[in-house]
C-alpha cells in the first residue's frame, strides 16, 4: 500500500462536512433567535454561561499547531518540552480573566475591545487597536487554514485547495445563523470532541507502552545518543539526548518566546474579547478564563507527553517508514511526530482520531477569528466611523456580508500564498514581536486611571519597531533572536508608557464608562 497518504482523501471531506453540517443544524434549532438583532449577533446575547464560555476559550486557544508543536517539543526537548510549551501558552488566559472581568465591570455594554480603548483613550489609539486586532485575527486565520489544510493534505492526499475551500465554507455555514453565539456553541461541541479524542490517545499510550518503558527508552536515548533527525545541528541532537533533564536550556528559551509571543495573540485579539462580551457577567468571565487555563494546560501537556516524548523514547527516526499491522507510514518531518505516534499506537484508528482532533481545532478557531474581524469591522469601523446612524437591519446585513467577504479574501490569500510558495517559518514569532508591544498599554488602560494616552500610543508603536528591528538585525534568528526580540518589545513598551504616565498623568473616571451605551445603540453617542 502507498505510504504517502495513509488515509483516503474522502476521510477529511467526511470529517469536515459532518462537522459543518452538524453545527449548522444544531445552531439553527437552538440559537437562530440570536441572529435577529445586530447586538445579539455580535454579542451572543451577553447571557452565555460558564460552561460554554470555558469550553469555547479552550477550543479557540487550541490550534492544529498546539497538538503538532507540543508533541514536537516532547520529541525535541524531552519530558520538559510539553511543560514549557503548555506553561508559556497558558499564561495569557489568567491575565485575560482579570482584564475581561475589569472591562465587563466598567463597560458592560462594550462589544469589542477597541471600543473600550476608544472611550478609555482616544481616536488614534482606537484606530491603532482596531488595526492590530484585525491584523492579528486575519493573520492567525491564514496560518490556521494553511496549517490545517497542509496536515489534511499530508495524511489524506486530498488537494490543499479543496480542504482550504471546505474549511472556509464551513466557517460561513453556521456563523451567519447566530453570530457569536453560533461560534461559541460550535466551539463548545468541538471542545468536548477534542477531549474525547485526546483522552483516547493518551490512554492508549499509557496502556500499550506505559511510563516505565518510556522512561527506560529515554534513558537509552541519553546513553546511546542515536541520530534521530539526520541533517540537523549538533545543538539539536544534544537537546534530544537530554530528554530527562529538568532544565533543558533550549526549552527555557522556548518558554520565554511562547509566553511573550502569546500575550499579544490573546490580549490583542478580539476573538477572546468576544467571549468576554458574550459572557453573562464579570464573575462568569473571571471563572471561565481561569478554569479554561486549568483545562487548556493539560491538552498540549498530555498530548506532547503521550505522543512526542513517547516517540523520542522509542527512538523514532525522521525519514524512516513505520508500520502497524499491514499498514505503513513515513515519518516525513519532526513536526509530524504526533500523527505518526498516534498511528503506531492505534493504527488508522489513531491517525483518524488525531485528524479529527486537528480538524475540530482548526474549524473552531478559524470561525471565531473570522467573526472577530467582522465584529471589529462592523462595531468599530462601519458603525463607529462610516455610518454612525446605521439601522439595526443595516448592521446585521453588514455583519453577514463582512463575514462572507472576509472569508473569501482570506481564502484567496491562503491560496495565493500557497501558490507562490510563501514560507510561514518564523511568521508566528514575528507576529508576537510585532503586537506584544500593545499588551502593557492595554493592561494599563484597564487598571491605571492616570495612563497617558499619547504614551500608550507611542509605546505600542515604538516597542514594536524596536523589537522588529532587533530581530531583523539578527537575521530573523528563530532561537535566541526571537527570545531577545520578545523581551525588547515588552521592555521598550513598558519603559515608554510607565515613565510617561508618571510624568504626565491623565486622570480618567472609569465610572463614566459604566453608563455609556454601546456603539451598537441606535442612538450613537460617539461622534
Amino acid at each position: 500500500m502507498s505510504t504517502d497518504a495513509p488515509l483516503p482523501s474522502w476521510s477529511i471531506y467526511a470529517i469536515l462536512i459532518a462537522q459543518g453540517g452538524g453545527y449548522a443544524i444544531l445552531v439553527w434549532f437552538l440559537g437562530r433567535a440570536r441572529g435577529k438583532t445586530a447586538d445579539s449577533f455580535l454579542s451572543g446575547g451577553r447571557d452565555i454561561g460558564h460552561g460554554m464560555i470555558n469550553a469555547s476559550v479552550v477550543a479557540t486557544w487550541i490550534w492544529a499547531a498546539t497538538l503538532m508543536i507540543s508533541s514536537w517539543t516532547g520529541y525535541h526537548y524531552g519530558f520538559i518540552g510539553p511543560w514549557w510549551y503548555a506553561l508559556g501558552a497558558t499564561v495569557p488566559l489568567p491575565l485575560m480573566a482579570y482584564l475581561g472581568r475589569r472591562i465587563k465591570t466598567v463597560m458592560p455594554q462594550a462589544t469589542s475591545y477597541p471600543e473600550f480603548i476608544r472611550r478609555r483613550f482616544d481616536e488614534k489609539n482606537h484606530v491603532l487597536h482596531s488595526a492590530i486586532s484585525t491584523v492579528v485575527a486575519l493573520w492567525i486565520t491564514i496560518m490556521i487554514i494553511t496549517g490545517g489544510a497542509i496536515v489534511g493534505h499530508a495524511f489524506t492526499g486530498a488537494p490543499f485547495w479543496a480542504i482550504a475551500v471546505l474549511m472556509v465554507v464551513i466557517f460561513v455555514s453556521y456563523i451567519p445563523l447566530a453570530g457569536l453565539w453560533a461560534s461559541i456553541f460550535a466551539d463548545t461541541i468541538m471542545s468536548l470532541m477534542l477531549y474525547v479524542c485526546l483522552m483516547v490517545l493518551a490512554a492508549a499510550v499509557l496502556i500499550k507502552i506505559g511510563p516505565s518503558e518510556i522512561f527506560h527508552g529515554l534513558s537509552e536515548v541519553a546513553r546511546t545518543q542515536p541520530l534521530l533527525e539526520p541533517g540537523t545541528t549538533e545543538a539539536h541532537h544534544s537537546s534530544q539526548w537530554d530528554g530527562l533533564n529538568w532544565l533543558n536550556p533550549s526549552g527555557l528559551g522556548f518558554l520565554i518566546v511562547n509566553t511573550v509571543g502569546n500575550l499579544g495573540a490573546v490580549l490583542c485579539n478580539q476573538t477572546y474579547w468576544s467571549r468576554v462580551t458574550g459572557a453573562r457577567d464579570p464573575q462568569t468571565v473571571f471563572k471561565s478564563f481561569m478554569t479554561a487555563a486549568i483545562c487548556w494546560w493539560p491538552i498540549p501537556l498530555a498530548t506532547g507527553t503521550a505522543l512526542g516524548v513517547t516517540a523520542l523514547s522509542q527512538g523514532l527516526v525522521v525519514g524512516e517508514t513505520y508500520s502497524f499491522g499491514d499498514a505503513a507510514m513515513v515519518f516525513t518531518e519532526a513536526e509530524a511526530v504526533a500523527p505518526v505516534m498516534a498511528f503506531l499506537v492505534l493504527g488508522f484508528v489513531g491517525l483518524t482520531i488525531f485528524i479529527l482532533a486537528v480538524g475540530s481545532a482548526t474549524v473552531s478557531t478559524g470561525a471565531g477569528e473570522i467573526l472577530a474581524v467582522t465584529t471589529v469591522f462592523v462595531n468599530d469601523i462601519y458603525k463607529g466611523h462610516i455610518n454612525p446612524r446605521a439601522s439595526d437591519r443595516n448592521l446585521l446585513t453588514a455583519s453577514r456580508v463582512s463575514l462572507v467577504a472576509t472569508a473569501a479574501i482570506l481564502l484567496a490569500v491562503v491560496l495565493i500564498f500557497r501558490h507562490v510558495g510563501f514560507s510561514f517559518a518564523g511568521m508566528y514569532q514575528a507576529m508576537g514581536i510585532t503586537f506584544s508591544s500593545a499588551v502593557i498599554p492595554v493592561i494599563m488602560a484597564c487598571y491605571v486611571k492616570s495612563t497617558n494616552r499619547n504614551g500608550a500610543f507611542v509605546a505600542t508603536i515604538l516597542g514594536s519597531v524596536c523589537g522588529m528591528s532587533y530581530w531583523i538585525a539578527t537575521g530573523a534568528d528563530l532561537l535566541w533572536g526571537v527570545v531577545w526580540g520578545n523581551i525588547i518589545v515588552l521592555g521598550v513598551s513598558a519603559l515608554i508608557v510607565i515613565p510617561w504616565t508618571i510624568l504626565r498623568p491623565q486622570p480618567f473616571d472609569f465610572d463614566s464608562l459604566t453608563e455609556a451605551e454601546g456603539v451598537l445603540s441606535t442612538h450613537p453617542t460617539l461622534s
Binding site: 454579542s43 469550553a55 519530558f79 483545562c295 498530555a302 507527553t305
Partner: protein, 63 residues
Amino acid sequence: MTEFWYVLNHWGTVVWLFAAGLYTWFAVGSDLVSMLRKRRNDTKAQASGGPEPEALPDHPRKD
C-alpha cells in the same frame, strides 16, 4: 530524573487531562440543561399568551 518522578509526571499529565475533560463535559452539560429548560419555560409562557421572550431586546434601555 528518576523513574519514580517520570512515572509520576506521565500519570499526572493523563489524570489532569481526564479531570479537565470531565469538568468541561460536566460544565457544558449543566449549561445546556439550563438553556433547554429556559427554552421550554419560554415556550410555555408564550403558549399561555405572553410575549416571545427572545424577541425582546437583550438589554432594554431606560429610554
